[in-house]
Assembly symmetry: C2
Homo-oligomer: 409 residues x 2
């Protein structure tokens, strides 16, 4: 019998009424003949509430204890959903990460799943039960409770779907799918019916916060068809799948994404010698600062200019570190700014079509938008621009590539 894994996020289980609605949706799939495994987040707000209790107790709590605390959030929702399903006459059983045998490493608060021994889950399915598993959590080999980090429930769901070779992993959220752009900014943005894992990855990491990147990566790796859909409205949502399964009429561009969580740092006049990039970046990564875009360009007189972007939270820290480094390597100058935004065009169709970049740049230029940094990959073109042009740039690019004409389904 076909098996689906359904993951419901915090707002979908944010109250008893909503938990009851989830129970009905789960049962509707059971009635259609599917075996259903459900993965849940904590009630919306609960993780923040527990985190605030922890911070009031200890400004820098041990991550092991934080995991002990936070993992209770999902344990509450799985028990309540099991009760709600039971109340409607169907048999359900809730399992903690440990009970579902989700083995992780011991990196508390950002653990990685090593293995899922699905014997217990399968036994319950064979008994006709709807199995409800706590997302976001696992257990290391010593029996310590671990969590996978924020948004980790998506990863739990995909990992469980992969382990059970589910026919689909459905991620229920408060949006009804993935759009060609942020509908709040671009009014004529359209919902995509299908998107590839690679595109979704680029969109996710670029700030379209529908799915956690790690879960998309995981789904791509194990070829688990992933579907994003709304827990509140009916609809087919967006299917995230491998390229081969897509329609013939592949659009050039799939979507436009934008991320404000970007700050730019440039070291000017770096003596051009081997190993200089690592000299600049090593102290940054040693400080656990994530670097996003990296661009090196030719400067004056055997020097280069070295630009990279970091998260806005890390901006001040990164600037201090890089200023020290600049002195050591005898660079001329450091400057940075954090009132910037990264806007990106994503699409696997780009691969086989030249001229996308130039069309994009000229469209932006026509609107008087100055591009500060450019970075490209096979299926993505990103530009850093001033933050005030954010919405204008997104709309301009959306129109240029006629994304409002993307086939709706």
């Amino acid at each position: 019998m076909a098996l689906v894994v359904q993951k419901y996020g915090g707002t979908s289980v944010g109250s008893i009424e909503r938990i009851k609605a989830v129970a009905k949706k789960v049962i509707s799939y059971k009635k259609k003949g599917y075996d259903v495994v459900v993965v849940l987040s904590a009630m919306s707000g609960q993780t923040n509430y527990l985190t605030s209790l922890a911070k009031q107790t200890n400004k820098n709590p041990k991550k092991r204890e934080l995991d002990m605390l936070l993992s209770t959030g999902e344990q509450v929702t799985i028990a309540l959903l099991a009760m709600a399903i039971d109340d409607l006459g169907y048999s359900a059983i809730s399992l903690t990460g440990k009970q579902a045998n989700i083995l992780t490493d011991n990196s508390h608060s950002k653990a990685r799943i090593i293995k899922i021994d699905n014997t217990t889950i399968k036994n319950h399915i064979l008994q006709g039960k709807i199995v409800i598993i706590a997302g976001f959590q696992g257990c290391d080999k010593k029996g310590e409770i671990t969590t996978l980090g924020r948004g980790g429930s998506d990863t739990s769901a995909v990992a469980i779907a992969a382990s059970l070779q589910a026919s689909e992993c459905q991620i229920y959220t408060d949006v009804d799918g993935v759009y060609t752009a942020d509908p709040r900014v671009v009014k004529n943005a359209t919902k995509l019916s299908v998107i590839t894992f690679e595109e979704m990855l680029e969109l996710a990491s670029l700030g379209s916060k529908v799915l956690q990147s790690r879960s998309v990566e995981f789904a791509g790796k194990y070829k688990v068809p992933l579907r994003v859909l709304s827990s509140f409205e009916e609809g087919q949502g967006t299917l995230i799948t491998t390229e081969e399964q897509q329609t013939m009429e592949q659009p050039l561009i799939t979507g436009i994404a934008s991320s404000k969580d970007e700050a730019q740092l440039t070291v000017q006049g770096v003596p051009d010698q081997p190993g200089i990039a690592s000299k600049i970046l090593k102290p940054i990564s040693d400080a656990d600062i994530e670097v996003d875009m990296i661009v090196q360009s030719v400067g004056e007189k055997n020097t280069t200019d070295f630009t990279f972007t970091v998260r806005t939270d890390d901006y001040e820290n990164a600037k201090n570190i890089i200023s020290k480094t600049a002195k050591e390597i005898k660079a001329h100058k450091v400057y940075g700014q954090n009132n910037i935004v990264k806007v990106s065009i994503v699409g696997v169709g780009m691969r086989s079509h030249a001229g996308i970049a130039s069309r994009a740049f000229s469209a932006l230029a026509k609107e008087g938008i100055n591009i500060l940094v450019i970075s490209t990959s096979e299926i993505k073109i990103s530009v850093i621009i001033e933050q005030k042009y954010n919405e204008l740039a997104q709309r301009t690019l959306h129109n240029t590539f006629e994304l409002d004409k993307t086939k709706k389904q």
Copy 2:
């Protein structure tokens, strides 16, 4: 090194401020050179809150899922206390019931502890850590989470103390010890410095809600010295210990207890034949109704009157059952009342002294209090009286036996 087990109840960990106060108290013992193992309840109100969520979801939730839900309450407090202790520079680790290897049977919501494998606890103690264990919960041999029922944290604490051969098991509550009577009713009630397990058991089961009976039983069985004391005030509290350790000057009476949770049922004119008591009580116990006092007395013409008491919640149900039984056994009549109260005198000193009962009965008679049912044991005399005489009866008996002169410590 001497080891103490300390148990803190819900009000003691009811807020972050209180959890911080508990952290300080725990550390003060650590500083004195003790190894400390702490057992915690959920924050006050949390168990009720979770229960109400469950009831909103399913009027009759599966007990297995209820345990899954309720066990999160203690998991929150143990993590927070570990953080608070850590914040004060001491090393602490929290353990769930499962992690502490508290093996129970599989009777969800009222599980019994079968065994504690204390290896993990001992290892952490050897590393100098303060070990914080979730009370009220355990785990059956299949890895299912179980709870021990309301007040089960006391039982957890005693069981852990017994397993570790602790020098003392300290139960911190919102009262500062065990009194000769309820101080809200009897103004000159005095605090007892020492009391025997047997007396404490009688007092606990009679409605002095300081300690759960099961935990006292457990402590008595394993000879774990138990101390009841306040988490908010300094003081030695009350030590509950074996009789032999008591002072020479044993008072006759230790205390007066009262319980309103009593309803009386009487079957009149029961044909007096062997096995009749079991015929009457079996349907009651089959319906899972707990019977407290049982009194059989001679009635008219080869018949007996059969009286027993049940909890007020079970009164209606028990009355229906007993009315059916009465017809079957051809008894004359059934009557009952639930506006009654049980008042008891407890004291191991009673054993060797005659005349206690008659002194008590005549004192009550002098105040015009009519006794409905009498039941006695070696160390206890209980009377059922009308509820309106409750306070008067307690004060009368307290004065009669001069309990205000019990030695204060």
